[in-house]
Point group: D2
Chain length 274, copies 4
């Protein structure tokens, strides 16, 4: 269930838990926090792949990285996973970046509403919101006690506008945005910084592993803005936003001075129409 990878023991900093870690955004965020000295817990469904990511980050960043299996569609799995996370120490940072990758998301093709299986709709909302709810409930008491903490949610353009053929995605992302607003309003006075990042574009692989052809322009008008809880949602062919660059914004939100906190911001590449 959990694999500890890493060298150093204690950094004085808390734990940064990143839920929804595949090959793209989740990995880049985890690596950034590891790079900055955090002990990192990364969570996704495919423990094998997750372990390889953990090893890679641990090796490259000389950091302590824990790989913990989570199935965001299953509340019991979420709870068990966070028992593991909490056992590591004070969870100072929670990044919630998971979504359910149905076939339509991967392909960016709309599904006629009447053809969406109810089970699929339920799972999508469960991963987008129910698991986020549970993760937040697990980490907030510790943050309240310490009087500090950061909770970052990944949204996308579907967080703001309904899209024909993507109700599974939109309903979950609208609800996640509501959750973020409610938590920010309730907890920021207690020192917990809750923020919602609207990624308006397709996230691709990091650039060091994949050089984009010159002049290439992202062609998608929306993306799911996060990473599949199961870690299988690799988009192939489309050159998207560099997740290492996106991770810088997550880090910036974490280190913002509490006298001037941002709750919501959008991010898109300069070469996209919006």
């Amino acid at each position: 269930m959990m694999r500890n990878v890493g060298s150093s023991s204690s950094s004085g900093k808390g734990i940064a838990a990143v839920v929804g870690v595949g090959p793209k955004l989740g990995r880049s965020i985890a690596r950034k926090f590891a790079h900055e000295g955090y002990t990192v817990a990364i969570l996704a469904r495919d423990l094998g792949r997750l372990s390889r990511v953990a090893e890679e980050i641990a090796r490259e960043e000389k950091a302590q990285v824990f790989a913990i299996r989570i199935d965001c569609a299953d509340p019991r799995s979420v709870r068990e996973a966070f028992e593991g996370v909490l056992s590591l120490g004070f969870v100072e940072v929670l990044v919630y970046n998971a979504y359910h990758s149905s076939s339509s998301y991967a392909s960016h093709h709309p599904t006629s509403f009447t053809h969406i299986p109810f089970q699929s709709f339920q799972t999508s909302i469960s991963v987008s919101v129910f698991a986020a709810f549970l993760c937040a409930q697990q980490v907030i008491p510790g943050m309240m006690e310490k009087g500090k903490g950061t909770i970052l949610f990944t949204g996308c353009s579907a967080s703001l506008n309904g899209i024909a053929g993507f109700s599974e995605l939109c309903c979950g992302k609208f609800a996640l945005r509501a959750l973020s607003q409610c938590l920010a309003k309730e907890y920021q006075a207690f020192g917990i910084h809750v923020a919602h990042v609207i990624i308006d574009g397709v996230v691709g692989p990091p650039r060091e592993t994949n050089i984009p052809p010159r002049g290439m322009v992202a062609e998608q008008s929306f993306n799911v803005g996060g990473e599949d809880g199961e870690g299988e949602g690799e988009s192939s062919g489309v050159m998207g936003m560099d997740p290492d660059v996106l991770a810088q914004t997550y880090w910036y939100l974490h280190v913002q001075d509490r006298r001037a906190w941002t709750h919501e911001l959008d991010i898109r590449p300069s070469n996209t129409r919006f």
Copy 2:
């Protein structure tokens, strides 16, 4: 499971199904459509009370009214209820007006996020969105076939802004708004009018049964905007918006010319601050 109350047999019009009928908004909407000649199916959890409402509307409006039990928290119950609704004929109008009344809604007191039982959060989202999804899936194929139909969703101020202590409500209402946008964008070209009504204020009992004291001002800054699926959410003491007046706007949306359809509007009493 179903109680048929009424006199006339066929009106040439289709069925108007109203989900979430207690003593207030749902009843007023059902009555308005009955008054205008529709056969009405009203759905809520408490069949006894629902039957009394059905009898009252049937008697007063000389209309055919069907009372059908539904438990919006239970997908199987929703499906069975709509088998009943669909057996009545072409469902031309669906009004989705149900929400889960947890104790905090009734009292309008916030609940600390960490104290919300997961089960309660799940049920709230189920009633707000999952059941709305299922109801819409049931009626859209018939509307597509006829090339006409109206689907009206009840929202509230919590559809637009998160509120500290009300994440159950806000997450469900944000998601319902997303559903409404997705459906409008997908189906309006096929003649199905989907609209989202943002009721910004507390809904009270109809005025004929309850004369408001002069000068009374609604004091709540938000309400759940709909009616409890169980029909027990009677607000006591607070004088709210007259549901018969609100029902006029639902009717107006239904009869709007398709060359100029509204997808979203807000409603509030003139004596409220906003």
Copy 3:
């Protein structure tokens, strides 16, 4: 400056003043209010054309119609025009529907920002907002005194989202929406209904005079949502929304019960993508 056309003398109702009357939306709104028994004042820059519209409405609706010249880009002209309007009696309804038609609006072609003459930007804002401000200031005291009145502003999709190449339009329409919100919040408790109508589509000529080809679909993604103060902005060739149908929504807003007032709604044809 003013031309009185019409027969009957007093209707018991107040005056409905419609600012921005060309061949389309403004005319249809004026006609609707005339049809419902209001004495109507129509205002635009081209008094010749305006007088013909006034005669037509007066004849067809057996109503009293006043044509008053206004140049919305000139504050003095606005003030003088409203002295005329106020001299007719109690202004119960103000519909503000004027915009400045620069060449880019008519053609729906974007103008590079650096090529917009400052004078043109100024005039656009003056017509969209300054004149609306002055008109509202003129009519509100009378409405306050009577404890009733309706002020309707015409917006469009550019009221909600900036559009590359249309800053003249968007800045004015955003500002007009702000004005509408401020006035609604300040005056609705005094019985003045202020509403903002977002017309999401191109307005065409009324249908009785111009039969649309079957299957024709509106192709523009935005329009200015109102009518040129000068009344010269006739769109040729493009088949748009029927202004007579749109006028019904303006009328509906006017007659809404004050216990359930709408401040903002959108309207678009069912055959448009949004």
Copy 4:
């Protein structure tokens, strides 16, 4: 008209022009860019006070600082001021932070709409939007030529929601947001980063000069979000947000990687209700 204060000659970097510099936000932003090696041009109406700010920044940051008089209510003054700015070299950064401080802003007391002098409304819109339009038109051609540049606009909560009694502020701030969106959409593909900062709270003096009492909480629900073009709008008594902290976010937006640009973000202190 212009006073050059400073030591070093050329930094290789361009000019950062900050419009609307009084004792608070504008000064802090200017100082931050000076600290990071930019030659800074600061613009406001009161040249005497502006010169003292320039001297202070030049001395403390060992930077080259130009004080240029501007009257944002007067288009000719804006144009002349920017001839001065452009003569200094390539304007790489424009921060537009000016607003018109009528008496109601300073006191945060609403003004009844009918009591707002038209002249005051006009001036407010002129300072908020007309001058911003002119400044942007002056600097964009140079940015286009270099393929880079940053334009930052200061907004506030009144940029998003109308407020009864503050139409002067809201209309201008809504319009400025529209301008920011239009410019971002038109120019970001050319390497110009346009962003809109929503400051949700009252800006106070920098903390080194004014230690806040412990436990003090900002009590205003909105502020004008910028600084008076005339530099006289010092708020006395109210302890607001530290402008030096806010300036960090402006800097962050400037240095964001163009593969992930933010167009809009909000900022508020953790101890404020929102």
